[in-house]
């Protein structure tokens, strides 16, 4: 009972009945040949080193709707391809927060919830259009509240079977992220410390998302 009541109240700023959080993100990439070393290192640094790293395969679809005043809003739907009975995950990611240049990580608003599999048809009925989709396949680690993902990006072939995936590059994407309620200090420094320990194998840095979209 206690955990339920704790989950309902006291976690972050409430927007209506939804808990809004902030996502702190650092990204980097590593070539395929060196990925093995990175996995060994991460296995030693992160929690639960006695079990082998957890693999995952996720399929993400990004839907966009065009508002009448011209601005676009996009929502991300992510489903797990290896655990099929888990629900879909719907996420809204806001714009990168500008301001503090010294902050080590990207900070953006994140509102998410779990949904059933009707999510995709629901969004399409609402007027969202599929912008792009991709498949991520790789390993994930956690250390306390930090989550590290080392995954390869694949292109989804529209006509081929879901098993035929075409990798986008010869490298792995490395992401270090924390989802935390607004107003918590010190997360960015904690992440920076962790990212520094992975240098020079992989350099995790903040990426200016506005420049990517141009």
């Amino acid at each position: 009972m206690d955990s339920v009541s704790m989950g309902m109240g006291g976690m972050g700023r409430r927007v209506g009945a939804v808990v809004a959080q902030q996502e702190y993100l650092l990204q980097g990439s590593i070539l395929d040949d060196s990925c093995e070393q990175l996995l060994h290192k991460l296995r030693g640094f992160c929690d639960n080193c006695d079990s082998s790293p957890e693999t995952f395969q996720d399929h993400e679809m990004v839907f966009t709707i065009r508002a009448p005043n011209g601005s676009n809003t996009s929502l991300r739907v992510r489903k797990s391809m290896d655990v099929l009975q888990n629900p879909y995950h719907l996420r809204y990611l806001g714009q990168q927060e500008l301001g503090d240049k010294n902050r080590a990580t990207i900070v953006r608003n994140c509102i998410d919830c779990s949904t059933s599999s009707d999510c995709v048809s629901f969004l399409q009925e609402m007027g969202f259009k599929l912008d792009y989709e991709f498949v991520l396949k790789g390993y994930m680690f956690r250390k306390g509240r930090m989550k590290v993902i080392v995954a390869k990006l694949f292109r989804v072939q529209p006509n081929a079977s879901p098993e035929a995936l075409e990798p986008l590059s010869q490298s792995y994407l490395v992401e270090l992220s924390v989802n935390a309620p607004t107003g918590q200090e010190g997360i960015a420094d904690e992440m920076k410390l962790f990212a520094d320990s992975l240098k020079p194998l992989v350099i995790l840095d903040k990426v200016d998302t506005r420049r990517l979209q141009m």
């Binding site: 991300r76 489903k79 998410d112 779990s114 994930m140 956690r142």
Partner: protein
């Protein structure tokens, strides 16, 4: 020349001068000057202005020196065209000669004392004793020799030490300790952590131990080597502890919680243990403390129909009416005393208690370890963007629209005490069932009861497959049944698919098995009738006629011979036993006033009981086969 002159011999070097040595050891030589370079070099040395002045100047008082400027001029005149290889050497020699003559001139002038006077600078005369130099050299060599011999001795002794007894060095032992235990340095002392906190425990005990150097060099008589480390564990973790888990019948005084327990031999030794053993024992004590605290907390919180009691270091929980589970934590100190142990005031002979069950003790340990594991190992989110650290069922709470009560139920899990009670209950029930089946199998000889226990089972579920066969007719008829044993009930599945749920009372199983045995006989007869050629007229599992069986129902079968003139009727009951009757036709016919026709003799007569036990045959089926064979006539 004069006798004062010194012979100078000039030899060319047979190797070139080294300019540089590269990193891979190759030497680069200075290339000898080529002819033109040589010439240029020497031309530069010529001072044409000086040649004339020297030729005309005759200040040198030495005769030999007079020659040199002339020689020089002569040489210089003939120098340029000739390219002589020893030129540089000759020039250098000439230079040396010049300098020496100048020096000579200066000295002769000084001797004259007219223009220059040499005045000695007063200084201590350095006494050059070759003896002292020799002695000094000897001393230096002696010190060098001693240093080298010291080093050699030390290395040799270190090697022999290492070969004889390994790791008596403090640092190497500390290194070994660091491989297994967490150590940290705090000011001057080295502290270590032997708690299970890094494995997920939340027990408030700190569990720190201290490591110090072992100063004493004790040589104990038993031959154990002195270790270089000494560890000091917290006082409440000293000694060793273990659990005693046993089931006991109800008729014991449990009011004062006194129990006598035998000390396992591992903890009985009084010899000072090495640090490794000490640390392990202390960690074990801490683990057992945490386990007992957890069990005691749950015992107080749990709402069972018969409440559990916690007295001192003993927890008593009720399993079945009249049977209890007792969990005792025994802690022994180093000197062999047992804490919390007083002489038993129980006069009950111990044969009523079942002995300590080490399997359950192991189960207790496993359960606590599982608890630790679950605090650390949270399942990872799939998809990766979902919330971290939430259980799998919680993910579905949103999309499935769980209400508060459902979510609260998700969080509920069995406590350690409940789980151990369930395991003990199952253990007892399994033993009872085994005992009952074995007793019946040895009592009943006619159909054979064969029990196969499945080897794959869990702590709370087991199964047994029972086959009832008749000896000699195994392939003919077999009555199977499966019994599933869970914690408090038995479930039997019979050959026709019926499911019978029984409680923990083993009498119910006995009645069921007896019933099955009697039914088997009837089914076996039915199976036998086919090869014998007899026809089954009726088969009844639950007969409603005849005397009532106290438990269960009787079954019956009626068979007719191939040519129809003999009928056998068999009735089998679990308590009433087996009755065999037969009738034959044609019966004896006596014409009477009512019945006149001869044809009425073909009706079957009355049934007569057969004393089947006196028929030849190994078992009942065999006897009935004999009976059927003897009654058959074509």
């Amino acid at each position: 020349m004069s006798s004062l002159s010194v012979n100078v011999s000039v030899e060319p070097l047979d190797e070139y001068q080294v300019q540089e040595i590269t990193y891979d050891g190759q030497e680069k030589y200075i290339q000898p000057l080529s002819m033109s370079e040589n010439l240029t070099k020497m031309v530069q040395k010529i001072d044409f202005a000086k040649i004339d002045t020297e030729a005309s100047d005759g200040t040198n008082g030495v005769e030999a020196m007079d020659e040199t400027p002339e020689v020089e001029s002569k040489e210089l005149a003939t120098f340029q065209p000739s390219l002589w290889p020893f030129d540089s050497i000759r020039n250098k020699l000439k230079q040396a000669l010049t300098e020496v003559t100048v020096l000579y001139d200066v000295l002769s002038i000084c001797k004259d004392k007219r223009y220059l006077v040499l005045d000695p600078v007063s200084q201590e005369p350095i006494e050059n004793k070759p003896i002292t130099a020799l002695v000094a050299k000897k001393k230096a060599l002696a010190t060098v020799a001693t240093i080298i011999s010291n080093g050699c001795d030390r290395m040799r002794s270190a090697q022999t030490e290492a070969n004889r007894n390994r790791s008596t060095d403090f640092h190497s032992e500390l290194f070994q300790m660091r491989q297994n235990w967490r150590l940290r340095k705090k000011e001057n002392s080295i502290l270590g952590d032997l708690s299970y906190r890094s494995a997920g425990s939340r027990f408030p005990h700190s569990g720190t131990f201290e490591v110090t150097k072992n100063e004493e060099q004790c040589t104990s008589g038993t031959g154990s080597r002195a270790s270089a480390l000494k560890v000091k564990v917290p006082s409440d973790l000293e000694g060793g502890s273990f659990f005693q888990v046993k089931t006991q019948k109800d008729n014991e005084v449990i009011g004062d919680g006194e129990v006598s327990v035998p000390i396992p031999p591992v903890l009985q030794s009084n010899v000072d243990l090495n640090w490794h053993q000490k640390l392990e024992n202390a960690q074990n004590v801490l683990f057992n403390k945490e386990l007992f605290a957890q069990l005691a907390r749950e015992a107080v919180q749990l709402q069972l129909p018969i409440p559990t009691t916690v007295i001192g270091n003993q927890i008593i929980a009720s399993l079945f009416p009249g049977v209890q589970l007792s969990i005792v934590l025994c802690h022994t100190t180093i000197h062999g005393k047992i804490k919390h142990q007083k002489n038993s005031s129980l006069a009950i002979p111990s044969k009523q208690d079942s002995p300590n069950k080490p399997v359950l003790e192991h189960s207790l340990h496993q359960l606590l370890r599982e608890l630790h594991h679950n605090t650390l190992h949270h399942p990872m989110p799939h998809p990766t963007t979902a919330t971290l650290g939430v259980s799998r069922k919680r993910y579905l709470a949103g999309p499935e629209a769980y209400d508060r009560q459902t979510i609260a139920e998700l969080n509920k899990s069995d406590t350690i005490l409940e789980q151990i009670i369930a395991q003990t209950q199952h253990d007892l029930l399994r033993l009872r069932t085994m005992f009952m089946i074995d007793t019946l199998a040895s009592e009943i000889k006619d159909p054979i009861i064969v029990a196969h226990w499945l080897c794959l089972n869990s702590a709370t579920k087991s199964s047994v497959k029972i086959n009832i066969v008749s000896y000699g007719y195994e392939s003919l008829c077999r009555t199977p049944l499966v019994i599933h044993i869970s914690t408090k009930s038995l479930k039997a599945i019979l050959r026709d698919g019926r499911v019978i749920n029984m409680s923990y009372e083993s009498q119910e199983l006995r009645y069921l098995l007896l019933n099955q045995v009697s039914q088997h006989q009837v089914f076996a007869i039915q199976a036998l009738s086919k090869p014998m050629g007899w026809k089954v007229l009726s088969l009844n599992i639950n007969v409603g006629v005849g005397h009532v069986e106290p438990i269960g129902t009787a079954s019956s079968i009626v068979l007719v011979s191939p040519n129809g003139d003999r009928i056998i009727a068999i009735r089998c009951g679990p308590h009433s036993g087996i009755e065999v009757k037969m009738c034959s036709s044609p019966q004896e016919f006596y014409a009477s006033a009512l019945v006149r026709d001869r044809k009425w003799q073909n009706l079957t007569g009355s049934y007569r009981e057969v004393d089947w036990e006196r028929i030849e045959g190994k078992n009942f089926i065999n006897k009935i086969e004999y009976l059927m064979a003897s009654l058959t006539n074509y």
